[in-house]
Symmetry: C2
Subunit: 356 residues, 2 copies
Amino acid sequence: MIVLFLFVQIGMKIFMKNKKTTIHDIADELGVTASTVSRALQDHPRISDSTKEAVIETAEKLNYQPNNIAVALRKGKSNILGVIVPTADRNFFASIIRGIEEVANDAGYNVIICQSYDSFEKEKNNIKALLEAQVDGILASIAMETVEHSHYEKVLKKGVPLIFYDRVNESINASTVVIDDFLGAYRVVEHLIEQGYRRIAHFAGQQHINIYKERLRGYRQALRDHDLPIDENLIIESKLKIESGKNSTQKMLSLSTPPDAIFSASDYAAMGAIQVLKERGVSIPDDTAVAGFSNESFTSLVDPPLTTVDQHTNRMGKFAAELFLEQVKAEEGNFITRKTVLKPELIVRPSSLKEK
Amino acid sequence: MIVLFLFVQIGMKIFMKNKKTTIHDIADELGVTASTVSRALQDHPRISDSTKEAVIETAEKLNYQPNNIAVALRKGKSNILGVIVPTADRNFFASIIRGIEEVANDAGYNVIICQSYDSFEKEKNNIKALLEAQVDGILASIAMETVEHSHYEKVLKKGVPLIFYDRVNESINASTVVIDDFLGAYRVVEHLIEQGYRRIAHFAGQQHINIYKERLRGYRQALRDHDLPIDENLIIESKLKIESGKNSTQKMLSLSTPPDAIFSASDYAAMGAIQVLKERGVSIPDDTAVAGFSNESFTSLVDPPLTTVDQHTNRMGKFAAELFLEQVKAEEGNFITRKTVLKPELIVRPSSLKEK
DNA sequence: TCCTTTTGTGCAATCGTTTGTTCACGCACT
DNA sequence: AGTGCGTGAACAAACGATTGCACAAAAGGA
């Protein structure tokens, strides 16, 4: 009885776990050594065709799958790429991730995605986890909260390729890929001016973040270049959420002479503006135009569809991944850090298009 | 001269690569063995407090970071969780991922996300890549195209925990977490009936996918329970993209007696319906109500805001991850596969709310 | 026939950790 | 003094794959 019981137990275990097969199992099966199997699988020239065939055949028979962890340990290369993203559930970043993955996967890399939720602490933890996972490189967009960058310096010191996208920090000697936020903002404002708007407000983001600083700069420059006055009352800094957009819009409407156009540095705040304007019965775009930034997916769906700036996020992700690959390839030689700047694209939609 | 050159080279290398430090380095520094260091770092009781202290101190001094790959190899556990998702850039999945990550990270797991883009081939490749990466488990939502499931059976055979979320397949013996699509649909339709709508159309999804089948079933049942006739002309199957929603709506409008409400199995198709209805000057919700499914983020932003069903995606992700953790813990014993069904929540918004 | 290549494999070390076992030492107890 | 035991640390074998080197057999050349 007991014997029977044990038998059943063991039987189950064998059935259930089906022990992952290794090159040794293949070697045993064929009466060769593991090194021969390893070489055969790599199509090494010194292995005879007959054994290669045999190896491949039994590998399939045993349903062999290489253990990448062992390979990683031996080769000192994990084939894992770490990506740090403030939050993956915004279209902007999701699309960048997609771009990164397309390139990375094709090159044989797996991608680990970490979200910083814009928190400094989380970001530090992410870096730590990624380094411990022995990633071959890190692509990061700096968290809003982050003001001190020693954790990134540590990455460089370990010799791990580091590339920043979108939110970068100039003080760190790493390759970057960003879009030209200045130009994007400039084009939006220029478009509004061409449409005949003259009092253009700007919902600005927090100015310690380079992208928002640049957008404000583009706004100012466009006004200046078209000989329009810059009214500081028309510039409001906020966190650019929907709610902040609503608040800012209310403030604008209570001005003695409200703006006739709103250029928000974020689509979300622009959305808030649209909502408030509609509530108040202000016609868009006839009374007031609205434009956003980022081409979030909802912008084409709202009413009226929102003029915005596309940042070619997918391409941005691809670029970042390619920069990484380049860096890995050039590893032995001294590679040069590169700054890539992508041109944004103005997307004109009805929210700023006056019927003529 | 040559000597000098070599020196510089070596100097640079040391400077640049800063060789990752291992427990052996720590051991050498202190004149003990690596095993002692390893145990010290794990707070093993057989190591004296004094050495523990010394080890921790020099570990910090040398900026030591454990090599998880080596640990993984030794322990046969990678602490990596693989997630397969049709596409990460939809709110629904992004939010699930977020839920998964929250739980998984807390438990010390890294998460690798793979996108199948709803392709069968890609899904198979993803599985292969994840297995080769030696993930400790796989959470998956089955791709639209997938009709054959042997690649998933392989996962089970290898003894790798497998959990399905949202899109499941009953024939595979794995734990699942889904929402009650039947109930969600039922509630939407019931709500529409309560609002006084009588000819309710349904934009259905492809019926080989269980969630869409369930939604259709819920739709039918609700009508039946309220003694309303089921008109097959009011049921259109499509891929539920925005475009298909538009097409379906046009077909509906050309019926001799068009519906007075549209319940779409997806928010995207519902969005298409809204656009066409507005174009045609059909008032929503007075003439025709519209309701969707999934609570995509844009649904609250469009005009009119869209009635839909929230699937508690974040919670769903968390549940899936927790199921995985449970399974790992119970590993040695025979764990029982569990089917978890979450209750969806009806979100009523103006697109179906008649002013009374 | 003898020597040199070439060809096909095996041997063993290695990547960085973990962990079962062994071992030396010191202390207490009889 | 001899025995026994608890402590603290070293030894060595893994985990699965890769790879420089050694080495035998076959092939080719003189």
